[in-house]
């Protein structure tokens, strides 16, 4: 794949007490575009992830009301899956490839996405000078784009994340089907299992430590699906408009107990793009600006295996993020109007939420909080986006929701309390990226 540059680590705010973000309120989100969804790719050119990415970007540009020629930056995640990698030896559909302007990698636009491919296939983008990777997640793309605009590296930037999905199941075959194992996997593969096992061990320890049960997740899961069904672009809303009653959640088969089928977010295809610009330019655009007040990250390196940070390491990382988010935005924890922290796997949400130390929810409190009113009508709505649980594995619903809530454009999901300050981010407690969004730049 053509190289899309990686951002320097200096773009991420990881200091223990980083101080007020130097660009607080100077960068704004003004446009949103979504395309998709589907459970899997149907093999057609019009539904390949490249085509959807183009469509999402064009929608974001139109939503913001900017001239495409004014766009001077693109930040995107070049990886478009966490597990649906193109199988070795599978024929690449050249009829699809040839429908687009190719790069030197025929899988570009099908099972991955480079900045070069996007520029080649959006001829209206005549002035793009800044192209950068947001590694792994829309959460990282947002941080890189916000910092780039604040630093003056771009002034009008597309922020893009897309997901393809193929037939078959994640992680089957390959090294997992061999009798021997090399590399880092030698430390886990002889014993371990699905990706959610690490989170399962953290949550098991959590239940042991705080005296809670997995069933206490049910109201959160119900609420998330319910909110997701009010996200018109979401997978469940589009394809299977079904609520998730507590009994259905609790009866689901275990994948890695205590993580069941619904705790594992469903892989889908989808694409989302945002249009970011300077606060100054945002004033003249079509939509109400949503100001970025801060971003933060925690680089805690777990002593254990990659997929198995301990509960205490997760709690420490999440608490660090909470402190950094609040301090850097110049807000108090209870200034948050709502939260959209990561939820795929769903059990992560407990750790992220508690890390914010907001609205009386401290360590060991999240599951108790779930037993109360956490709906969009509550004083502090929990995951009004519905997240990955409510709309499928994209890791971007929560960001879209923050923008739309603050703009007052969340439709049926619009929260009852004034949406002044929201927070979103993820994915993992260790190494994730998080953003504070505000209705005011101050």
């Amino acid at each position: 794949m053509p190289q899309t540059p990686m951002p320097p680590m200096s773009m991420f705010r990881t200091a223990v007490h980083p101080g007020l973000w130097e660009h607080k309120g100077k960068v704004a989100a003004v446009g949103v575009g979504h395309e998709g969804t589907a459970r899997r790719w149907d093999g057609t050119a019009e539904n390949c992830i490249g085509a959807w990415s183009i469509a999402a970007c064009r929608k974001a540009i139109a939503d913001a009301g900017v001239n495409p020629a004014d766009v001077d930056g693109i930040v995107l995640d070049t990886s478009t899956t966490t597990g649906a990698h193109w199988p070795a030896g599978r024929e690449i559909p050249m009829d699809v490839v040839q429908k687009f302007n190719q790069t030197d990698d025929p899988l570009d636009g099908i099972a991955q996405l480079s900045g070069e491919w996007m520029v080649k296939n959006m001829p209206e983008l005549t002035n793009v000078k800044y192209i950068m990777t947001g590694p792994g997640c829309m959460s990282a793309c947002i941080v890189v784009a916000a910092q780039a605009i604040g630093d003056g590296l771009a002034h009008t930037c597309l922020v893009l994340k897309s997901w393809h999905n193929l037939d078959g199941r994640y992680y089957q075959g390959g090294a997992n089907a061999e009798p021997t194992i090399s590399g880092n996997a030698k430390w886990t593969n002889p014993w371990a299992g699905p990706a959610s096992l690490g989170t399962a061990t953290q949550f098991q320890r959590y239940m042991y430590k705080y005296g809670k049960s997995h069933d206490m997740m049910a109201p959160f899961m119900q609420n998330s699906r319910h909110n997701g069904l009010m996200f018109p672009e979401g997978y469940w809303a589009q394809h299977r408009p079904e609520e998730l009653p507590a009994e259905d959640y609790i009866n689901a088969r275990w994948v890695a107990k205590p993580a069941n089928l619904f705790d594992n977010d469903i892989p889908i295809m989808a694409s989302a793009a945002y249009l970011f610009t300077t606060a100054e330019r945002a004033r003249d655009m079509k939509q109400k600006p949503v100001y970025i007040l801060n971003h933060a990250r925690d680089n805690l390196v777990a002593r254990g295996f990659g997929g198995f940070p301990t509960l205490e390491e997760c709690e420490e990382a999440c608490a660090n993020v909470g402190v950094r988010l609040h301090e850097g935005a110049g807000i108090k924890p209870d200034d948050l109007s709502f939260e959209n922290m990561y939820d795929g796997f769903s059990l992560f949400h407990v750790f992220h939420l508690e890390g914010l130390r907001t609205h009386g929810i401290g360590l060991g409190d999240a599951l108790d909080a779930f037993q109360g009113d956490i709906s969009i009508s509550s004083p502090f709505p929990i995951s009004p986006s519905g997240g990955n649980i409510g709309s499928g594995r994209t890791r971007f619903w929560k960001h879209t929701d923050c923008i739309q809530q603050i703009q007052g454009r969340a439709g049926a999901r619009q929260i009852s309390v004034p949406a002044n300050i929201g927070v979103s981010g993820g994915p993992m407690p260790t190494g994730g990226n998080f953003t504070v969004w505000g209705s005011s730049p101050d």
């Binding site: 009798p179 090399s182 030698k186 061990t201 088969r253 301990t310």
Partner: protein, 139 residues
């Protein structure tokens, strides 16, 4: 329980060689007096890559169950026949920050006492005969 056989490399060969002699050794970075597992080319404490700071320390083989999960749907082919199975995180007596994985042989599925003492045993993996550490609850 049959497992994939881990293939040693130059860095971790002393660890795997010791297992084949029924000994459990852990990488020890003397620069930070830090046990480290899995082994790595640098000290996780200070980043040193000076080999004179690295040694292998034999440990007692005593540990405690920190947490666990029960796997019902594994992508690892050789483990699928034994589903569901326990996967416990064991913390070493010498340094609870060092964790190892275990199927807890002899323990019923989902009957895992967090906080219980465990003792290492050495299990032969079928593909190459390489031994790996396993842990049993001490009654």
């Amino acid at each position: 329980m049959p497992k994939q056989s881990p293939v040693p490399d130059a860095l971790d060969k002393p660890y795997f060689d010791a297992l084949n002699e029924d000994r459990l050794v852990i990488q020890n970075w003397t620069c930070c007096q830090r046990l480290q597992h899995p082994p790595a080319a640098t000290c996780g404490g200070c980043g040193s890559n000076q080999l004179q700071h690295m040694s292998w320390k034999q440990v007692s083989g005593n540990g405690t169950i920190y947490s666990y999960g029960v796997v019902y749907d594994s992508p690892i082919a050789v483990l699928q026949a034994d589903q569901p199975y326990n996967v416990a995180l064991i913390e070493l007596e010498e340094d609870p920050g060092v964790k190892m994985l275990s199927h807890l042989p002899g323990r019923a599925v989902d009957d895992v006492p967090i906080g219980a003492k465990v003792k290492v045993i050495f299990e032969t993996t079928p593909a190459t005969g390489q031994k790996v550490p396993e842990w049993q609850v001490v009654s």
